[in-house]
């Protein structure tokens, strides 16, 4: 014969039988141990003699009992949503972050006619502690995530700022502040690159040295501000008259140098120079004045007239000198000038 009472007294679930008026008819050992009372003290007593229920919890207990009896089925109460129904102090048996045992409770009808139910109490304190711990960790993780995201955003802003500053510094170091054309530094780099590339490929490139004719007179008569406007206009005209792959640089004052790659024949340079002279000669309207500016151009060709920067510039400058001497508004290629 199986001793059911022995089993009921050894399981880790609280079992209490009571009626709708909360009178207790039975309590297993778990219930008495967890409440530190003797079984004899429990039977026949009202549950309200054992616990101080809050009005809300008492109403909830009565509702659950009524639901179980009416539906003739189980009524559930979960620790997850309510924490506990019976205020059983955890300190009686264990230590916990919760003052009261966290409970899952199932109320099942025992004798509907007598309005009696059996209440099963499952201790979920450890589970709820774990859950609370997990929630705390999740919250900390979410906070850390928020801080990390904010830091990433700040770093990205700083990075963008640095990139912009780097761009500005690069521009200041490599471009002319007035005309925005390449300056000497960039010109030197570009020409060096062309020399290196063309030395291996055997291709030619031209160096066109431009100097505006009588620009000093313009500056002296109309002022430096007008002179600056003319330089800006000339820079734009030169950019429009050349290819994107060409380098147009301001060499200094009213001097410009243009590097033109892929020159198959020397006569191509004549065409380019003529086009540039025509572009510059177009009248410029500044402050209601129609100004006429002309330029002289000296040209050297890599590798025919030099294989390094200084040589190519020097020979282009020599050709420019000849073009100036021959009456300006014209161009000369280095060997022509030597003839």
């Amino acid at each position: 014969m199986i001793n059911c009472e022995k089993i009921i007294d050894s399981i880790n679930v609280g079992i209490v039988t009571m009626d709708a008026d909360l009178k207790i008819y039975y309590a297993n050992k778990w219930f008495t141990v967890h409440n530190d009372i003797d079984a004899e003290q429990v039977i026949g007593k009202n549950i309200l003699d054992l616990f101080e229920f809050s009005p809300e919890r008492l109403k909830s207990l009565k509702r659950h009992i009524k639901a179980a009896l009416t539906l003739k089925g189980p009524s559930f109460f979960t620790a997850d949503a309510n924490h506990y129904l019976f205020p059983m102090k955890n300190s009686t048996t264990t230590k916990s972050i919760f003052e009261f045992m966290q409970q899952d409770i199932t109320i099942i009808p025992y004798c509907v006619e007598e309005k009696q139910v059996t209440v099963l109490i499952y201790d979920q304190t450890s589970l709820m502690e774990e859950k609370a711990k997990c929630n705390k960790e999740s919250e900390e993780l979410a906070n850390a995530n928020r801080i990390a995201n904010a830091t990433i955003r700040k770093l990205e802003t700083a990075k963008n700022k640095l990139m912009k500053q780097k761009e500005i510094i690069y521009k200041q170091a490599h471009y002319d502040h007035l005309t925005s054309l390449a300056n000497r530094t960039l010109l030197t780099q570009r020409m060096q690159l062309l020399i290196e590339n063309n030395q291996s490929s055997g291709k030619k490139f031209g160096v066109l040295f431009l100097d505006l004719d009588n620009f000093k007179e313009i500056n002296d008569t109309l002022g430096h501000d007008v002179g600056d406007m003319i330089l800006i206009h000339v820079a734009k005209s030169l950019l429009l008259a050349t290819r994107k792959s060409d380098t147009v640089a301001r060499f200094g004052g009213d001097e410009f140098i243009i590097l033109v790659d892929d020159i198959e024949e020397e006569k191509n340079l004549n065409h380019i120079a003529t086009k540039l002279i025509q572009a510059i000669t177009q009248p410029i309207r500044i402050r209601n004045f129609d100004l006429h500016v002309t330029t002289s151009i000296g040209i050297s060709l890599f590798p025919n007239h030099g294989v390094d920067f200084n040589q190519l510039i020097k020979n282009a400058d020599l050709a420019l000198y000849v073009a100036k001497a021959e009456g300006r508004n014209t161009y000369k290629i280095h060997h022509q000038s030597n003839k």
Binding site: A67, L71, F76, A81, N82
Partner: protein, 199 residues
Amino acid sequence: MTTPYFNPQQEDILKELINVSFGLSASLIGDMLDNHAKLHIPDISNIAIHNLDDKIIEVLEEGYEFYLTKQRFLGSFNGEVLFVFNSYSARAFCDLLLKQEMSDEGDIKSSILELTNIITSACIGKFCEIIHGETIFKVPSIEKREISEMDKYDKIEGYDNVIVIKTALDIEKENILGHMFILLNNEMLDHLKHTIDKI
């Protein structure tokens, strides 16, 4: 296996059965709330399990957050019941039940669990009764979810069909709307349909 859908006759009988069980639930809920409560089912349908998430999104309409309860029932009649309530309905029911000025998340969850426990117990109990089956209810759970995060939640497995029951609870001037989803495998659905056909 027959078609997963109910024919009009089966649907009518099913509605009647659910209405009977809802009558019992409504009286109990009315007692709980010290008020007259009317529980009715404006709509009932049947969908395949893979359409469950889409259906939940559809029934919630504009709601962003919602409460989902889950409860399994085991035995010769087995399956799982889900309930979905939008935040407004959940809070409205909690206010009616607890009649307190300030309710927290725990209050809302426990109120909804009480409500769904009653409806589930009555409804599944009725189904069990007609198919002469036996069932044991597992402890229910409730969680708050967000529609936008639907893809991230674990999918429910082990079922083929879902009976979708729109439940409207009229108390005073409040109309608390929820949706009950009864998840069944093909065998259980067939069993239920054959029993309904004999009624």
